[in-house]
Amino acid sequence: MTKDKELELIRILEHHGRIETDVLAKMLDENEEDVKTGMKKLEDEKVILSYGAIIDWNKVTTEDHIAAMIDVKVTPQREVGFDEVAARIQRFPEVTALYLMSGTYDLSVMVEGQTMEGVARFVSNKLSTLDAVLSTTTHFRLKKYKHDGVIFDQEEKDRRMVVSP
């Protein structure tokens, strides 16, 4: 598969991870075996990390789904900078995303849980108690409007009319 085709494949998969390989092959004008090999290669190279779905949880469970973004200030460590403390934080199952930031704080930690207490417990018992952590500021998410490029609660209606010519 050429580099261009590979890029096209990646672009398509980013948006339609679930698409069948025979359809993909047609979209790429390639044969199906090559597409399968190409996907395997991208998976092996860890370019494709996982095939996920973006879910609007509010629509499927009555259980609360709490998410918070926590701004964390840390003391960077000699040699490893922020990586060591990040390596510890990213392993907590509550943490769904972790970014190193520039600006007034260092790490942005996304935490998801079922109750506000659960999230609070995580922050006070686990996150704040790490040696390198200087301070935390927790922001609870109130509503999800857009996530990973997908706008929630947007009915995609085809408004095109049938007009001549």
């Binding site: 096209e8 672009r11 359809v23 092959a25 047609k26 979209m27 790429l28 049938v162 001549s164 010519p165």
Partner: protein
């Protein structure tokens, strides 16, 4: 109380010969039928399935907030014309003077009408490479001139050939209308192929109306602007617009680039009939040109994947279909079913609820083919092609 009026039968004719002489568009009948059906998948729509990019919509709203609600200059905002000039030079290598050689029009549609009205006299003949966009022939007719179809066909990948064009030329031929990438065939012509047409244009002193509205939607090759060919600038009227590439059909905004004598003649008609193109749309278009390149590329990539898909799927379904190089239409042959294109389209709609447009609507060259627009979701394309396959299997000869 209702006023009693004496009804008199008008004795003078009420309709102009021009209006009486043309037929309503042939696409409409199918759409009227499709509109009454539930779960119908339409591959009949000739416009992008994307909504206009947000930055463009936003720029237009901002212009309204700032109170830009009056007429612009007749030829269009000079900032917009300048941006069009830079865009055409950068993208297609053609250089036009925004002051003199350019008019912003109400869609490419108006530009086509103006080009014909400004240059063609009653009785002149205008050659139209068909299958073609449905407006060309009626517009020629309404100007009092005579459209002469020059059919292309599958044997030349729906490209116009020098021989075909030459064969249609008479003493009264004044101009030829070209549109590549083409609606409905998706055919594109490269510089060498266009050069052959240029030679005929020169030999017979023809004007060339080159409708390049699908230029951005060329999937495999770089688009060649007709006026970029040697010695063609002075006889070319280049027509384009924002509808297709920028997903701005409803904005009604196009433009035309041509030598000064022609644009100035067109401008006279434009100024009396339309005054100027809509102002909010012009502000939106300016944003589209300044910051729209990336989005156009994204949309084009998406069309390319869908083109690849539909062409493979149609061939697998038993309808032979070439790989169209541009626009967003596939134009398969329906020969395998033994039906003519009108019957095929009608039966497919009734039996499988998939709307396609019969090729003859676009001129004689379209016979035996149907136009399938792939500017629709992958889901819809998959369902539509599965239904087409079932239909073809049932009717295969």
């Amino acid at each position: 109380m209702k006023q009693q009026t004496m009804q008199t039968t008008p004795k003078k004719k009420r309709l102009s010969r021009a209006a009486s002489s043309i037929e309503p568009s042939g696409i409409r009948r199918f759409f009227d039928l499709a509109a009454t059906m539930k779960d119908c998948i339409s591959l009949g729509v000739g416009e992008p399935d994307f909504v206009t990019p947000w930055n463009v919509r936003e720029a237009s709203m901002a212009s309204l907030e700032q109170g830009y609600t009056s007429y612009t200059s007749n030829a269009g905002m000079i900032e917009l014309r300048t941006a069009i000039g830079e865009y055409m030079l950068d993208r297609f290598g053609v250089d036009y003077d925004p002051e003199e050689e350019m008019i912003v029009t109400v869609g490419a549609s108006e530009a086509i009408d103006l080009a014909i009205r400004a240059t063609i006299d009653p009785g002149d003949e205008v050659l139209v490479a068909t299958p073609a966009f449905v407006s060309y022939e009626p517009l020629v007719t309404m100007s009092g001139a005579v459209p002469i179809p020059v059919p292309t066909d599958a044997s030349t990948d729906f490209k116009l050939t020098k021989e075909r064009l030459e064969a249609a030329i008479t003493d009264r031929s004044r101009a030829v209308i070209l549109s590549f990438p083409n609606n409905p065939t998706g055919a594109v012509m490269n510089d060498v192929e266009l050069q052959a047409i240029a030679e005929v244009a020169e030999a017979y002193d023809l004007l060339v109306f080159s409708d390049e509205i699908y230029a951005e939607l060329s999937y495999d090759t770089q688009h060649t602007a007709f006026s970029a060919l040697e010695r063609m600038r002075d006889r070319t009227v280049l027509i384009s617009g924002f509808s297709k590439a920028f997903a701005m059909t409803g904005w009604r905004l196009g433009f035309v680039c041509a030598p000064t004598d022609i644009t100035q003649a067109m401008l006279k008609i434009h100024q009396y009939s339309l005054m100027c193109a809509p102002t909010p749309a012009q502000h939106g278009a300016l944003e589209a040109l300044r910051n729209g390149r990336e989005i156009v590329e994204k949309m084009t990539n998406s069309y390319r994947a869908r083109r690849n898909y539909i062409v493979h799927a149609l061939n697998e379904a038993g309808l032979s279909c070439r790989f169209p190089g541009g626009s967003f239409y596939a134009f398969p042959s329906v020969e395998a079913t033994g039906m003519d294109d009108e019957t095929f389209a009608e039966q497919l709609l009734i039996e499988e609820k998939v709307a396609v447009v019969p090729g003859t609507v676009f001129g004689k060259g379209g016979e035996g083919h149907v136009r399938c627009s792939y500017a629709t979701s992958m889901d819809a394309l998959q369902t539509a092609t599965a239904r087409i396959e079932a239909f073809v299997q049932r009717h295969a000869q």
